[in-house]
Symmetry: C2
Subunit: 358 residues, 2 copies
């Protein structure tokens, strides 16, 4: 039914055939020893990727579900959201949808927050959780996370970070940075099919969750904690994606190496930024430009619909701007198992279609 296109979209990403095949392994019961072994091994591997000793929970959900979980389990008094794009805005809206008190700090799209931007508000003592989108997929702004943890800790505020489109492509040291909740999913830098999302939660979060009301059942960390002790989940998990992710992480650690994976993402980002500046312009401020996806200003007024269909003819799925940015920018992802050669070929193809800069 589907053409096998190279997906130059910021997730779901192309999955390597050997990784995809793991989704078709024979089924196992989710209360069996075989399953517990898989679950335990996968969690240990994820802890290494995340640089954390915190609990790591797995669930059949998109990352959005774990974003809601962070709100339900952490916000007692009031949430503070850094909003610098469509996905951070959505997290703020999730807080409101969960009937939480929530404020936002608006940062210009294409930029990112610095610790000083949140300090005064957090020092007020009004808030008990701060929400930051590490990698804003809509604007391709990546927030340097150093310094937020200290301010949060001092004020007894839980630091919740969405690293959906950066984890496993960029080094994020959860424990060193003092991240209390980290949310991520399989279908971006991990290079695995969507359907499984992972969250790392600190002891401070578990202590908070214990006394929180109205968490519901599905996203209640206490349910996951209870089952974590048995290496399983409160309800049936997405076993195909778990097999696939477990295999993929084993392979990454053995073959490419995590540090090399981060380096490859950084190099592809640098190449793309240089290309963007030569042919168009960078949308995102360069100091916070993402290592996993680049946002490029359409300052030549190219018809992006036509560009997209020309690229489609050549076997590429193209990524327009997201939401309000549609037509004004386009995005070039360089994540997961995408290689520098793939990327160069793709950018050259775009150059051939749009011609040299006048």
């Amino acid at each position: 039914m589907f053409l096998d296109k190279k997906l130059f979209i910021p997730g779901p990403v192309d999955v390597l055939p050997d990784v995809a095949t793991q989704c078709a392994l024979p089924m196992v019961g989710h209360r069996s020893k075989d399953y517990a072994e898989l679950h335990g091994q996968l969690v240990e591997r994820l802890k290494k990727v995340m640089h954390t000793q915190n609990k790591v929970f797995l669930s059949a959900t998109s990352s959005t579900g774990w974003m809601e979980a962070a709100v339900r389990n952490c916000v007692g008094k009031k949430a503070l959201h850094v909003v610098n794009g469509a996905f951070s805005k959505r997290w703020y809206e999730i807080s409101l949808a969960c009937d939480k008190k929530a404020d936002k700090i608006d940062i210009p799209w294409g930029s990112a927050a610095k610790p000083a931007d949140v300090k005064v508000k957090l020092d007020s003592g009004e808030y008990d959780a701060l929400f930051i989108t590490h990698n804003e997929t809509s604007t391709c702004a990546m927030t340097p996370l150093d310094g937020f943890g200290e301010i949060c800790k001092k004020n007894n505020v839980l630091l919740c970070v969405d690293a959906v489109s950066s984890m496993c492509g960029v080094k994020i040291e959860v424990d060193r940075l003092g991240i209390d909740v980290l949310v991520t999913g399989t279908q971006k830098c991990f290079g695995v099919a969507p359907g499984l999302a992972m969250t790392a939660v600190s002891q401070a979060v578990l202590d908070r969750s214990k006394i929180m009301k109205d968490k519901g059942f599905y996203f209640d960390y206490m349910q996951y904690l209870k089952h974590d002790a048995k290496n399983n989940t409160p309800s049936t998990p997405p076993i195909p994606q778990m097999n696939s992710l477990n295999y993929q992480l084993g392979k990454i650690m053995k073959v490419e190496g995590l540090e090399n994976r981060f380096k490859r993402h950084r190099e592809m980002a640098e190449y793309t930024r240089a290309w963007a500046k030569k042919n168009f312009a960078l949308y995102t401020e360069e100091w916070c430009s993402s290592d996993t996806v680049t946002c490029i200003v359409n300052n030549r007024n190219i018809d992006l619909g036509t560009l997209s269909s020309r690229l489609s003819d050549k076997g590429y799925a193209f990524s327009n701007g997201y939401g309000d940015l549609k037509g004004k920018v386009f995005r070039v992802p360089h994540m997961a198992d995408r290689t520098m050669d793939d990327l160069k070929e793709y950018l050259e193809t775009i150059e051939k279609i749009v011609g040299p800069r006048p």
Copy 2:
């Protein structure tokens, strides 16, 4: 890593190799035309299986998530739960965890509710949603659903039915029965890997949902409705399971036929019940004994742990009783693509291990 065992557990079930392979198809973007085509076709096929014209929503969640959604979107005044086993009890607990007012009607385990059991309560006008577990996987009681819809409709009560372990193995005519919310998942009678759950919701439910507060985001039907118009989902869906389920339903309709599938489940159930009565005894009252899984009293005080490991040696995964029933009963599932020959072989193997009834 895993032995390829025949799973005689009531889900996740064995997935046929051609169906499992669909989980490894090349990835597509979830905002692409290719995806919309898959989504649209799958929803149409599900409507046929469910015998409904209602909206059918898909999500990366286990069925438990859609059970929580039913509570969050439907219960304004008070929920009434029929509790006749571990899973119906859990639905009641989900209502409480969502901070809803909820009452329960306790029906003896191994039995099922009749419309008369809920009539007086519903006539009181106190309730706005009734929750029934069609197939109680813990006790193997299947509730005949005729008659509940009329009482609900008369009282403006939404009828919510968990058909997780029966839909696609048993004929459930959602529209004729007046079911407002039906919840089901891939990993039981559909014969597909876990990670995708499906829910059918009536217009009355959508009208209710529209005015409900505190639904959160992930399980808010309004979000799914908005995206249903575009044949997609609010956040990234589990594309591997969608491909697999779409293929499986196409094949079922073309090759076996839905009615034949229901007939096969019924015949396997009848065979298993006869076997149970000959060798042990039925746990479930026969009038409400399930067509997809049979619960058998361990009235010979067999050591079920030993039986389980003997069966394991022979390549079978065995199903003990669930929760409080562990050791007292055992369960024989006969669902999805299990054949009568498989089933006979399995029951003969048990007979050989435990010997003839004294």
